[in-house]
Amino acid sequence: MGEHKLIMGKDIYFWNFIILMFFTLFEVGAVFFEKYPGTNTRVSVYVVWGILIVVGIIKGFGIGAFFMHLWDDPKIYLRVALFPTLFVLLMLWGIGLSNPEGVNGLPGWCTPDWGEQYATER
């Protein structure tokens, strides 16, 4: 387990903890910047999404892989942990399809290319 791997005299749990704390600090600190530091350019919502998702993935990986031992444990546990991902993806797909934007606001490659008209008029 993680306590047997030492980096600079400290085990993997310690470094994982430090990385989690750093990224949380970064995540919280970033909220205080509405504009890019030193510029007058507003931080776009997509950049905010990007930061939050990337930081979330890093933190989730750190907790799952090292604190929950998925990195070292038999792979069956990793498969169990990833199993709900299928349903989460289905949910996200459902969100896309059930959103009004899903009809004509999504890119053409993932829709039947409705154009502006999606209801058949008689």
Partner: protein, 447 residues
């Protein structure tokens, strides 16, 4: 306290548990008296004074408008500025009062539950005839069947049936007007009591189990794995689905709300009479649309995020010490705090308990502020926020009760590499709670 010689738990350990219950209750009462009565009383006086100032300032402004000396829409008028400043001071004083009042009440409430949990377990143990104390399964070193999960599930059902009224009662309590709170809380409290009894009975039944001799699964897909570990992972994945449901509901609604953020990005427009949708982050985040967010409003959520990460680390340290062959006593203060392996495990768990309790207290303080500012469960935005963060808070609280058991068991079991699974499996649950917060915090507080 214990039933006698056949019990696997020594009297001294039960007495220590009761002593711990007394200390917890004492801390709860002291917190309530100190924070919820004395400090909150002073803050209430300040709030009353600020309210009087505001009413005076408002009266002066209205008189001036009526006399025609200033226009009602003149926001640069001195009286208008004074009125608005007084209003802000009154709101600040109100929120300050709520902080101490809710913190004190929550500490008292949590300490009563913790104490009840410890005492009920002690009473259940001591009420048994001596011959029933003997652990028949001790020789087999394996877990046995139990009715406790059914009692626990029944309690959960009652609690959920009474939950709508329970939420109303809690709401009244938070606003300091608790006249109907008792009747509103009753069904939920009965459910909680049955849950407590179920867990306490579970505790009593599990105490003799020393943790050796894990049952091994013999069929696929978990062949060769510990059955309890496979069970906790399957349970956690069902929990992932619960939180995924909340989260996808939130995302689905969020994509339709015309928030300030969406409005500024040009992804939505407002028709005549429509207003921007206000999410929790609009109240909490600096620059949020409600105009109330700053460093201090985000602070409780941020502290809670750090608290959960630290608590994830302390539970890992407890497991690490439990599995260690040669415990090295740390130097300095930590050495005094953790002079031997047993106390090190127990104290790491106590630190985790304290951090989790702080999480609950800060969460309810934050909720009280949001409710006072008008962000209630009555709106779609409020409903999904309170349900998601509330469900997470319930998981934290359930974890704290299990932690109490783990702390108690730290005194009864000599944990080593072969029997520390209890900490490991509980740790998996606690890390999951942390993981859920990793998603909830940015989604509800920062975005």
């Amino acid at each position: 306290m214990s039933g006698g010689g056949h019990s696997d738990v020594k009297n001294a350990i039960w007495m220590r548990a009761l002593l711990m219950a007394g200390i917890i209750l004492g801390l709860g009462v002291a917190s309530y008296v100190g924070l919820g009565v004395v400090v909150a009383g002073m803050k209430e006086t300040t709030w009353d004074e600020e309210a009087d100032h505001f009413h005076d300032a408002e009266k002066d402004w209205k008189d001036a408008v009526a006399a025609g000396t200033i226009e009602s829409d003149d926001t640069s008028a001195e009286l208008y500025i004074a009125k608005e400043a007084a209003h802000h001071h009154e709101i600040d004083a109100h929120l300050s009062y709520l902080t101490y009042r809710v913190a004190g009440l929550t500490m008292l409430f949590v300490s009563i539950i913790f104490t009840a949990f410890l005492v009920i377990s002690g009473v259940l143990n001591s009420a048994q005839p001596d011959d029933e104390h003997h652990d028949d399964h001790h020789g087999h070193e394996e877990h046995h069947g139990s009715a406790s999960p059914i009692i626990f599930a029944f309690g959960c059902m009652l609690f959920l049936i009474g939950f709508p009224d329970f939420a109303d009662g809690l709401h009244s309590l938070m606003l300091g007007s608790g006249s109907d709170a008792i009747s509103d809380l009753s069904v939920g409290m009965i459910g909680l009591t049955i849950i407590t009894i179920g867990i306490a009975n579970w505790w009593r039944e599990d105490l003799p189990f020393k943790g050796y001799g894990e049952q091994i699964a013999t069929s696929d897909p978990f062949a060769g794995q510990h059955i309890r570990k496979a069970g906790i992972w399957v349970f956690l994945m069902s929990e992932v689905m619960v939180f995924a449901t909340f989260f996808s509901s939130y995302l689905r609604m969020r994509t339709e709300w015309c928030t300030k953020w969406a409005f500024d990005e040009g992804t939505c427009t407002l028709e005549d009479g429509e207003t921007l949708a206000m999410t929790a982050s609009d109240y909490l985040r600096p620059g949020g649309a409600a105009g109330t967010g700053d460093f201090w409003t985000l602070l409780p959520g941020a502290i809670n995020t750090f608290a959960l990460i630290i608590s994830s680390y302390t539970i890992v340290l407890a497991l690490k010490v439990a599995k260690s062959h040669d415990y090295k006593v740390p130097t300095g203060f930590m050495g005094k705090l953790m002079p031997d392996k047993k106390s090190a495990i127990r104290n790491y768990l106590i630190i985790t308990l304290a951090l989790g309790t702080m999480f609950i207290v800060l969460k309810l303080v934050e909720w009280s502020h949001l409710i006072a500012e008008g962000f209630t469960v009555g709106s779609q935005e409020g409903s999904i926020f309170y349900i998601s963060t509330g469900a997470h808070g319930v998981h934290v609280f359930a974890g704290l009760l299990i932690m109490l058991y783990m702390i108690f068991k730290a005194d009864t079991v000599e944990w080593d590499e072969d029997n520390a699974q209890g900490i490991e499996y509980f740790g998996l649950y606690w890390h999951f709670v942390d993981l859920a917060w990793v998603v909830i915090f940015p989604a509800f507080y920062l975005y």
